[in-house]
Symmetry: D2
Subunit: 109 residues, 4 copies
């Protein structure tokens, strides 16, 4: 598979990485930070595996599918956590996570 | 500075990361791989620091400017190496590198 | 599981990361670089997933086991490639890869 | 410079990465998480740049010195934040950060 074929999934991963890092930084500034700790934890893990997946796909790794499978799981968990919270950054992050999870599921199939 | 303000530079870094990884993989498949070794070496380093810079900017790191400064240097070195070589992947990579170097210089200023 | 319990596997991953990066750099300097391209490719992927696994374990990620499972696969593939080649850096890398693969398999179990 | 010469600095970076990630995870579980947010933020950044520096040194990057210079700055900032806080994980992290900062300063010199 060429890097062009991976492009849609790469794009979703990178968009999700940025959304997760923005949500992470914003959660750390929320007054009720105690309620956001699971969101903070998952935002970081999700950003990191999204970046890792995008690197793997763009270098046409033989392990890209396996990595995207885990990425889909982390994105789903992160999206489910984010959608519980009111702030705009959480809602936008949840949306990016679910889109990325879907793209990664297809890649991993 | 907000993550939106960083968005242009983030986008260039991520585009450059993908171009460098594609060039890296393609260089490893070239017949004259012996002539491409500096290109391979710089492609990897450039992809890695572009990913790192994009993460730093998207989490609004206090060190983003310093990181972008190094990223600009690596992009410039990688672009200068790539533009010496004929293959399309090298030419496209050089272009992405120079665009990213320019965006990172502005960010670091 | 605490980060202490992960410590042995983390140590093997980090040792393997260093060995793979050293082998990678050395392979790029070999005269017969054309024969080393699969070694170069796997060294990079192996170094990267070893670093990623070590990060995941040290932050006590819920996904550490799944990540270590892939890490074991990559280490095994990299070790099998490296052991085909004569240079000391390849032999040392193979040994580090097999040790890391074993530690990651136990972690993933 | 060979990877052996970098070995001490690599070791300190990797030890610091593990200590920062452990402190990060533990801070997220503290009751007074509101007081730990700067510690959480810096722990993540410090772990990430320590991993990045170790990768750069172990692949003998031409940019290793510049990267270690930033790594020293982040380690120092993280150590100064951690040492303000009572928990054992913060105190241990501060110590790892200061050791790593010193090793990186020497490397960058």
């Amino acid at each position: 598979m060429s890097h062009e074929q991976f492009q849609h999934c790469i794009d979703e991963c990178l968009r999700c990485m940025v959304a997760c890092n923005h949500c992470y930084t914003s959660c750390l500034e929320e007054d009720n930070i105690g309620m956001m700790k699971e969101c903070i934890r998952l935002d970081r893990e999700c950003a990191d595996i999204c970046a890792f997946s995008a690197q793997a796909m763009s270098m046409n790794s033989s392990y890209a599918k396996q990595i995207c499978k885990i990425c889909a799981d982390v994105c789903e968990a992160c999206g489910n956590e984010c959608k519980k919270h009111g702030p705009e950054h959480c809602q936008q992050c949840a949306e990016a996570c679910f889109r990325c999870a879907e793209a990664c599921r297809k890649m991993a199939a």
